[in-house]
Subunit: 368 residues, 4 copies
């Protein structure tokens, strides 16, 4: 496998101009694209349709350039958006490609795998069934990538959300749902998918997926999980990123953990593990080698950060996910100098409570 | 002069419990309080009444403990709030006191001065008249503090805002206003007051206060100005902070400039200038010496931070001031470890475009 | 009893100028004020501090004019605010007074009663205990008013809300809470208090207050209940409005039900029951007789109004209570011609699902 | 000409299922569609991408069903969305079709015309140039429709908005723009387009299009204009609706004016002019004949409705357009019983200040 990744800025959710230009220049081929992961400028909530618009726009681009139908693209290429670019976060997509080997492997390098699960029923959503379906999807994607579990660094799942209609549909069939609060259902979806990742990676014991754990017992978590939710689907779409000795990629993945939202030390550690030089900030000389940073975050559930009260859970105007994304993007960018990084909120079971995974994708030192 | 400062957390805009406890313990006396500067958890906009509630609550506390009337407190003690504690920012007040000398001065230490200006008419608001009135107020406060202009480090002005009623009142008298957009009037108020500070400090040439400059020509700025706006007043309340050889305070002020919102280097520089040890982060041993950090910030007016697009000016749900405060508080706290710091947005003519002043108040090394 | 009511507009949450003017003019005396019920211009959510500011401002006014202490006022006069004046709703207070008889009763006229309950523990909040405490409070207020149950027209309860701190405090004591979502706790508080009103009025069977009913089974409701929530208290403050043959008031209460949010017919019916002439709209000649309209409302829980989808439950930017208040105020005002009316959202168990009580306070025909 | 109109509900901005079903059933043909006008569930502001998503979704549907390319559809069929379905407003589209005559005309019936103008430069946006370009477009659409000016009832223009990038682009060329506030630019765009409609209809004197009028002098207005703005375009797309003796349509247009936001009388008048029976509400028997109501609205610019203060211009959380749309939709639906109607905010020069046009599209009495 030869894996590549291209980060493209977007001036609107339907702006695919930078990607189109790279295709024009021959930087990659549409038929080699295996996954897209990005940030759109919506509210990140239930009614965030920037995700659907961006998905449709990239599908149309890939269809046009590959000659494949949009429906075929939709079954082959997971396109996952986390909505919400608060603060300085710059809307963008990371486009992942996979091709046959180019030359021989020279060490552990980037490998990518993907998978789709079946659709969940509203009554399964956010439950142990959801987590098990997610775990099966992750196992399939790991196999697709050819990565050892120990070399996993970032597993992204996009899953669904309950809407008033889905809730009512289940109730008409006499089924209960985990919550009828549509916004809150997004949290349950993220939680179930994250535990599914932990089960597949071996971090979480599958026997622990009972009712009192999902969305509740946050001492149980995966350090490489990143999940997001959106009304636009009801299954799990999985992207697995890690390193493999079979890969001829010039890129390498690494990860660390931010123990809370202002843990710039965690960011520095992840950069260093990817082979980049960091003093207080990423060394100027290595900035061009950084492709992207992928981060999950959440407000400290205690209502305080290092003992200081925060107001995010009391704010009835702005949802806490919107608050925290802007903060963490700023903290990461203050180290890397680049506000175009992927920060997604809602880190239920994704890293320690109040913290989250920070993964780095970079050009390997001495990479061709 | 012996100046002290006490930072107290607030669990709501009317929570004065920590301040009351310090009074109970004899940490300071109500009659020695000369100014209060803090952050409340409102939206920071036109209809942010958390500021009025906090002001009234602290006035009632000081009146009760000093035996003075609320109306007398209101004329003697500027109580200035910047609304908006987005992200992790922890609502709080810094209470400044002034007493007769305690012993002899031992170097340049904290000195404080205050002043009130006359009320502005709606048609004067945001104009050169406003700036000149502000400059006169700053000069009076500098004199009150006994600080040399070169030893100024932070000048805070709270000024007013236009409301629909004030606009209509002026129009009934046949007078125009600088804008009928109430939210935007807050920006003009901050701009005029900031240029007034620059005139008084000598940073800005008074002859430049013509129509095309205020709120427009941001290459003209003060590096020590911090201004905020609110409907609750129509004059300027001024607090001047600096160092003086006449002060017996144990505290010291310093400042630097953040050149943009992710300039953690500017934060480190200000901490070092205040005599604190900083590697990537503030040294553990010196954390107890830090009283507070006072910062002004704004989105880069170009629509991009270090070349990367931000969406703050296109967001019709959340005002840009709300976005940027959360980011900069996170950047500062990632260096100091403390999210309870003062970050105020709307930095028109307060530091370079897209950046702002960062001032540090700390216990002096070897302070008693 | 001689009961009066005065509606005063407010230009800000701390604007008591119209009330002060009425006191100056001798329209009523501060010591005769028994209750205040109004609308403030906050967000109506957890962090709506306009309610606290308005309460403190009116308490200070009544204290100043009556010579009583603020703490005494706080124990004698329930001051209840519903936050949120979306759309055209005009911020205002209705001030209720009670004096000895003036002359002899001439029919069923306005009578008022009030009561305070004990504080609820976080773990009791939103449960059957909460409902029973509320019911006891309503019974006390009915007795205070001297109204027969059949002559009740509007019972207002203000109750509390859970905050992150209250939730954590309960958990430290090993107690569970009904929800840890602070915004949602407001709905549970309203629901429990409303069922308490129904129990006291005889509309609801006390044996039905079990776990599956409160906040869930909305076919059980009171037609005269109006409840609201706010973090600023943890007990129930009760105001009971109805008619009594013992009252010498010139005013009269009536009520009907809006079966959904666009049921202008329900508004017309309530006005007619109060003796006012209505064609499509309130007759011009009778407009001066209308004091106020008090309405509860909520989005249809099915997600559709008369079969047409609404988006209020999917909106992650604006809470559904904010949407619906503006709508219903507009519908009422399109009949009465007056946007200064009391519309409060969150009508759990207060009228039929998707609808709510509409009560009218008017000068009686031929009243002195 | 035989004109038809079909109102279809949408469960999301990309939900074209109801339209697809009508095509499946043969209700109309894709190649006969000449215009689509609808409401999407975004914020109606600068970053409302629901409009772009809905446009793309309907273009793809029409392309698929007609065999035409999306780019050809985009040049032939104006698809205009007003974002924002606050309160009860139900997201939907009205699809207009035009075919050859069916039988002979039997009176004045619905006729439709459309046009596209050239793109405007940022420096032209919101100026007299913009108004003149719009007027030319309206004249072309009137000609296309074959309607006499006296039989015009509703002219819809969708125009653009300034973005930070467009502003900067103009400035790089040394050109000024009417405002650099992106949200406010939408108001200037609506204002200029509305005056253009008035010029074309003869309601406004073309010599009055000078700087002090557009967006300022609201005593100058058109009673049939409806304009909206969005970043997704920079030209004017025009849809003209009226009646013609050449039309064989079964439908008829009428209009009246709402003099303010609670003027239900204006709604009743427009319904009656369209031949529908109305008492306080639209008669049950005639409800099936109503196709749609098209309304423009805005907060009263004085800050008060019939003398009562409103808070919409002071609200820094929710833009005033969001407040007012929900109110007016509720007022209209309280008369018609149908919340699925078109209410668009920002009525600069579109009806009297604080009011707006209310147009009705209905099946003619005795229509085949």
């Amino acid at each position: 496998m030869h894996a590549q990744a291209f980060k493209v800025g977007m001036r609107a959710p339907d702006d695919v101009a930078e990607a189109a230009k790279l295709l024009d220049q021959g930087a990659f081929k549409a038929e080699h694209v295996v996954a897209i992961l990005g940030k759109t400028e919506g509210n990140g909530g239930v009614n965030d349709y920037t995700r659907a618009l961006a998905t449709l726009s990239f599908q149309l681009l890939l269809a046009e350039r590959s000659g494949q139908k949009v429906t075929a693209i939709a079954k082959r290429v997971p396109i996952i958006w986390s909505g919400g670019t608060e603060g300085l976060m710059s809307p963008h997509a990371t486009i992942f490609t996979r091709e046959p080997d180019r030359g021989s492997p020279t060490g552990k390098r980037l490998a990518i795998g993907t998978a789709y699960t079946r659709d969940l029923l509203p009554e399964e959503f956010g439950t142990a069934v959801h987590a098990r379906v997610a775990a099966d999807g992750v196992r399939a994607a790991i196999k697709d990538a050819g990565i050892d579990a120990m070399d996993l660094h970032f597993v992204q799942i996009k899953t669904g959300a309950l809407t008033t209609e889905r809730v009512n549909e289940a109730r008409r069939r006499g089924k209960g749902v985990i919550t009828s609060d549509t916004y809150k259902s997004m949290a349950y979806g993220r939680a179930a998918a994250a535990l599914g990742i932990g089960v597949a990676s071996g971090e979480v014991d599958a026997s622990k997926l009972d009712a009192g754990v999902i969305g509740q017992e946050f001492s149980i978590f995966s350090e490489i999980a990143s999940t997001s939710s959106g009304v636009e689907l009801m299954n799990c779409e999985v992207i697995v990123l890690g390193n493999s000795r079979q890969s001829t990629s010039e890129l390498v993945m690494a990860h660390a953990v931010m123990k809370d939202a202002i843990d710039a030390g965690g960011v520095r550690e992840a950069l260093r593990r990817a082979g980049l030089a960091v003093d207080s900030e990423l060394a100027e000389a290595d900035r061009a080698r950084l492709i992207n940073v992928f981060v999950k975050c959440e407000p400290d559930p205690s209502g305080a950060t290092r003992g200081r009260r925060h107001v995010m859970f009391e704010d009835s105007d702005i949802n806490y996910t919107r608050h925290i994304r802007g903060v963490v993007n700023g903290v990461v960018a203050s180290v890397t100098g680049d506000t175009m990084c992927y920060v997604s909120a809602g880190a239920e079971h994704q890293g320690p409570p109040g913290g989250g995974v920070v993964a780095v994708l970079a050009r390997a030192a001495g990479g061709r």
